[in-house]
Symmetry: C2
Subunit: 333 residues, 2 copies
DNA sequence: TTGAAAGCGCTAACAG
DNA sequence: CTGTTAGCGCTTTCAA
């Protein structure tokens, strides 16, 4: 592959001049511009990005950490992010943590190694104190509950606790008082969705309902997980069953619903199921899912604009109005 | 950020020795190993990857081109690829072409700029002759119909034409003779799913059914596209409607089915709908989708192993047995 | 077992 | 308007 030196030689000029051409500097004669252009075409030249990166101490790549890309919430989020990034000189490096604490650290280390200039973290496994350590290596933007913003790490915050509170209240208003609860993390662990846990707890407390640990399902993510939960509910005697389930995601909700239907339990009359995310397929499953809608596109856009501004040392005012969550009522509750 | 020089200074050694330690060379005294290790920890050192990359003329990054990550087929494919890549020193850079020819070229140019060492192309917009030009800049592996393999570009080939032929034949056997056909590309253009087109045409021909251009829908990808098609079918007088639709993807099929149901057209009795891909949600929609199952995990694994072998200058025998497509019969046909 | 020095491809003072 | 030169952080001859 031709280098800048080859081009300079071929054009009979110095590498400096060629470099200037490359970077659109003023003060190059039209004549030489032509020569350089021709030599570049002739030699099929393209600047080597490793060299540019080393020199500039900048990679023009940002990382996006999600737990798993197959979760449609994350793939739509990434899509929204990538669409904004595409309009900049940056590239998007997608990184999956698979909900693993150590893997997340490994990904954060890429900041340290100058593999990437900044990170958008849409999943969070480690304590915020760990994340903060990495801010000195590059810009970090968090996506999650509003409360994360207290950490001094720039955050695109949504009202997860409020939304969960409202969702539980919604179930309560419909008469379901025995509400099982699924979370992707560990219940009331400081990380991972704990703000939703708080919303659940607060809603129960406000309605003088006691928290029942048997109704808590932790580390729940996939359709399969949903199926398992449904099976365990089916295995209970009828009077021991919860009357409703807050599934934590539409995927889990879909798995639950499918298994219930296959076993002749009616949703919602036997057991109501509340989803989360409002994914494209959620209105199409056999019992359309009542769910909490997250404005995933706006979240991705705001996060990216914020990170880009940080990288450019500029200010950016996040448009919080676009970040509202709301309940979408369909038939599963 | 500390450099190798800082570590060398701190340890009272030369950069060479530190570099040797980094690369696990033999012949370093245990004593010095300890010193280096301590200095590294003390200075919070991590090798700068831009420098390593420039020096090695290797980025340890591979690109994966898909048309859109929100298509679950692609997100599952990427997941499969990433899981294999994670076991190597490489990283995965995901690139979306959004079905755009020029964008695909821009992505291929990353090979030229040494931004990536190799590419897996799961979507194909440009002619193979264009792709071939890029082989001199890095390794390329194609994912798609078997026939792509003729191009001399390493390919993980599945029998798209055969599978489509069988799917159409399946519809025919069920008594549906008026079969509309959706494709993500342009019908019988050389690119993008044209092998499926051939399967469709061949199946009709073998059954002495004339091809009807009005039954061909091109550039169809999303749930929304499916809804539009369904609307246009609904707008036809009953006797003008096709009796079945080969949707080309489960997403499109889902959109079609939902719109039909919302307008009191029964699937399959009024119009049958055949999907493609067998996605996780396909069994859960209101009319579970009869579809062509692609072994997406195996495809991703084989493609990655093949690319890795190519990058390491080794041989790899693709396990073609794992690449079989098959019809999954549910209720939409 | 260790170190000096050259060089990967590029950019940016500085000098002209 | 153009060129000389140093250096980004790392690896690898070569010599000791």
């Amino acid at each position: 592959m031709a280098t800048i030196k080859d081009v300079a030689n071929d054009a009979g000029l110095s590498v400096t001049t060629v470099s200037r051409y490359l970077n659109n500097h003023p003060y190059i004669s039209e004549d030489n511009k032509m020569k350089i252009k021709n030599s570049m075409i002739k030699l099929d030249y393209m600047p080597n990005s490793s060299a540019t990166q080393l020199r500039a101490n900048k990679t023009f790549t940002i990382g996006v950490i999600v737990s798993r890309i197959t979760n449609p919430f994350f793939s739509y989020l990434i899509d929204a992010i990538d669409k904004v990034v595409k309009q900049t000189p940056y590239h998007t490096l997608i990184m999956q943590s698979y909900d693993d604490v150590d893997e997340e650290v490994r990904l954060l280390d890429m900041l340290k190694q100058k593999n990437i200039d900044g990170i958008i973290m849409a999943s969070l496994e480690n304590d915020l104190s760990v994340i903060k350590q990495y801010q000195k290596y590059g810009q970090i933007v968090l996506i999650g509950d509003k409360s994360l913003a207290q950490s001094d790490i720039p955050t695109i915050g949504t009202e997860q606790e409020e939304a969960t509170y409202h969702a539980i209240q919604f179930l309560l208003n419909k008469g379901y008082t025995d509400i099982a609860y699924c979370t992707g993390g560990h219940f009331l662990n400081t990380k991972h969705g704990s703000s939703r846990d708080k919303g659940y707890i607060r809603a129960l407390a406000d309605n003088h309902i006691e928290l029942n640990n048997k109704r808590i399902y932790t580390n729940i993510h996939t359709i399969e997980d949903g199926k398992h939960i449904a099976s365990s509910v089916i295995a209970m005697s009828q009077k021991d069953r919860p009357t409703s389930i807050f599934a934590g995601s539409d995927e889990v909700a879909a798995g639950i619903i499918q298994t219930f239907e296959a076993n002749d339990l009616n949703v919602p009359s036997d057991v109501a199921v509340m989803g989360y995310d409002n994914q494209p397929f959620s209105s199409m499953v056999s019992v359309p899912i009542t769910t909490v809608s997250q404005p995933v596109e706006a979240i991705g856009q705001e996060a990216t604009h914020l990170l880009m501004s940080l990288l450019d040392d500029k200010n950016y005012d996040v448009d919080v109005d676009k970040l509202k969550l709301k309940i979408v009522e369909r038939l599963s509750v």
